[in-house]
Symmetry: C2
Subunit: 122 residues, 2 copies
Amino acid sequence: MFQIQPYSPVPVYEQIVSQTERLVLSGVLKAGDQMPSVRSLSIRLSVNPNTIQKAYNELDARGVLCAVPGKGCFVAVNAGERLTELCRGKLTELRSLADVLALAGIPKEELIQCIESAYEKR
Amino acid sequence: MFQIQPYSPVPVYEQIVSQTERLVLSGVLKAGDQMPSVRSLSIRLSVNPNTIQKAYNELDARGVLCAVPGKGCFVAVNAGERLTELCRGKLTELRSLADVLALAGIPKEELIQCIESAYEKR
DNA sequence: TAACTGTACTAATAGTCATAGTACAGTTAT
DNA sequence: ATAACTGTACTATGACTATTAGTACAGTTA
């Protein structure tokens, strides 16, 4: 369910956050689904429980997960919509990336091609 | 020449690196131009000399600048070409960003519009 | 009651970023 | 030659983050 690269420069908890968000967006995780517990996932990924908790807290704060003390951690009801809103903020990222690539003289068609192929997969 | 945000999450030396690269790509800095000295720039930006040196070292390693002990730091002869090559690597970044946005259901047209407006500026 | 759940702490380690200070060697103009 | 510049190298320190480690508490469920 999760693929963790321990020696990556991107923190483990961020890997869990982004991979969870991907699973929600791709429909693998649906609203109400129970997530693995903090302890069990920490054992399965050979990672400290605190690292998992940090990831779950972040996802809870973003409205993707809903943690219930004593019961477990569940996918929030409007997780998909929340993520779409959050992703819209990434358009700024795309804009500045396109700015640099344009400045570097990369042909516009190459960028368009990247976009096209990303949408063809679906 | 440089606009530094000291409390930004992106390190000061990285800000200098990326801003220098932008100046080279936009033609403000041309091959052979002498950069401000480590010490003078550190004073002007109210930053430690070591921070400037780290930025210049990085730019030297990327082939953008050419540091000559005793003389100064100069824009490398093929700085523009080096940067174009380096930027081509960022297409991967664009690809994964487009993947996420596509997955989130952001309309393809919005992404295309970002690309178009970036190239219209030029 | 026992075994699970999330949560909240503290402590310690490791790494990065930045500051601070010093020193050395090469270049240049006076 | 001297002074003033240049890049470079090095150590030490403080702040912050990521992570591991361990313990403890409160709610839930069979």
